[in-house]
């Protein structure tokens, strides 16, 4: 009996460990990495404000530029228009009134000011060829060939939307946002897909906040 048991045990254990070790990951497309996060000031009464104003430009913040040396670039006009019109639609759907449209936006006071900015981060990966084949077995350690045989870079774009009460605070020197949305994954290099991701991301941000933002 012991002999048979010992013979059978290793494959059973190996099979079990193999099955247990499998750890599938669900990421299959770049959209699977898209994330929408919203946060709010729990002390702010969202029932009070009824009007808002939209910006006219959206700054593009990158890791390449130092904002203390020169101001950030702006998003292209078509993307700016898409983002602002989507925010406008969502704010209206939540029951707020856009006073920017009422009189050109210059003189009308609003309860909330919407600000938006885009954040661009470029991640770069290098792939090296190693001479770790047959000869590498004898001549350890094996080193990578330089230069790298492949370089891949991908852009991670995020959109940040803030709602700020107006006037900002008693000192008038700081903006104290009461609601912030971070929409990650708006730039993959495929414009048509990216536009859909932007619209879906903004809609999701307002949708998941409607319990307190909505009128």
């Amino acid at each position: 009996m012991p002999r048979f048991g010992k013979d059978l045990a290793p494959p059973i254990v190996a099979l079990g460990l193999l099955l247990a070790a499998c750890h599938p990951t669900g990421v299959e497309t770049i959209q699977d990495l898209d994330t929408v996060a919203t946060t709010r000031d729990p002390n702010f009464n969202f029932a009070a404000p009824t009007t808002y104003k939209l910006p006219v430009t959206i700054p593009l913040i990158t890791t390449d530029d130092d904002p203390t040396i020169r101001p950030p670039d702006l998003l292209p006009a078509d993307l700016t228009q898409l983002i602002l019109s989507t925010i406008d639609t969502e704010m209206t759907a939540q029951g707020y009134v856009n006073v920017s449209l009422a009189d050109g936006g210059s003189s009308a006071a609003s309860d909330l000011v919407v600000t938006a900015s885009a954040l661009k981060v470029t991640n770069i990966s290098y792939y090296y060829q190693y001479w770790c084949g047959y000869w590498g077995y004898y001549y350890q350690p094996c080193y990578p060939y330089y230069p790298p045989v492949a370089v891949s870079s991908y852009v991670v774009g995020s959109l940040i939307i803030d709602l700020t009460p107006f006037p900002p605070d008693t000192s008038g020197t700081r903006e104290l946002g009461v609601w912030t949305a971070l929409i990650r994954g708006i730039q993959s290099g495929v414009p048509s897909t990216d536009r859909a991701r932007i619209v879906n991301g903004i809609s999701q941000a307002f949708s998941q906040s409607s319990s307190y933002l909505g009128k």
Binding site: M1, F4, I12, G16, L17, A20, H23, P24, G26, T38
Partner: protein, 205 residues
């Protein structure tokens, strides 16, 4: 001289006693069973909330020694993996996050147990039992949203009632059991529960 004889006398007696008793004691050592098993697990409660699907990944190792003909004590180790991929919304304090999530629970039970084997027939080819486990569960909880991941590992005190049956054959025994695992809250990870079904093979060692 008299005193010296008095001191020598117990030594041969002790040696004789050891010689006589030792074989009998060795013969009384109960058989030790070693069992390995494949396990699948059904999540319940908080475990099902975090990772709803049935876990098909699990393995177990059991060691048991009979202290009576119908009673065995032992150790139980295991590894159960719960996993889910979902796109949903979670709330953390005043922050709401929506995105594709990888969720995983790696559970390593480390339990001591007692099992009672009631006599239901003379040949004991089919031998059911009931048991109780107590000990700890090492639970690693993993949550990834987008490119951000959070992982924490805690040791949870736990209990696990168990029922099972051994199907004995000339070379060992196939066993099937169900264990209701309860790992109490620890380190912010809430009470975890799952029912594990084991199919394994045991042999004497």
């Amino acid at each position: 001289m008299i005193a010296m004889r008095t001191h020598r006398t117990p030594i041969p007696f002790f040696a004789l006693a050891v010689l006589l008793v030792a074989p009998a004691a060795r013969a009384d050592i109960p058989p030790t069973l070693v069992g390995v098993s494949y396990q699948f697990s059904i999540p319940i409660g908080n475990t099902a909330t975090f990772t709803p699907p049935v876990s098909w990944r699990g393995v177990g190792l059991d060691v048991a020694t009979f202290i009576r003909k119908d009673l065995a004590v032992g150790l139980a180790f295991g590894w159960n993996v719960f996993f889910d991929n979902t796109t949903s919304t979670i709330n953390v304090k005043n922050t709401t996050i929506t995105g594709n999530q990888d969720r995983a629970l790696n559970v390593w039970p480390t339990l001591v147990n007692a099992r009672w084997f009631p006599k239901i027939s003379s040949n004991r080819d089919i031998q059911p039992y009931i048991g109780a486990n107590i000990g700890g569960y090492i639970i690693e909880q993993y949550l990834a949203i987008g490119l951000t991941a959070v992982q924490e590992t805690h040791y949870h005190f736990g209990l696990a009632p168990e029922i099972g049956v051994f199907f004995q054959n000339p070379v060992g025994a196939v066993f099937l059991n169900a264990r209701y695992n309860m790992a109490f809250a620890s380190g912010g990870v809430p009470f975890q529960q799952f029912l594990s079904i084991s199919l394994g093979y045991a042999w004497e060692r």
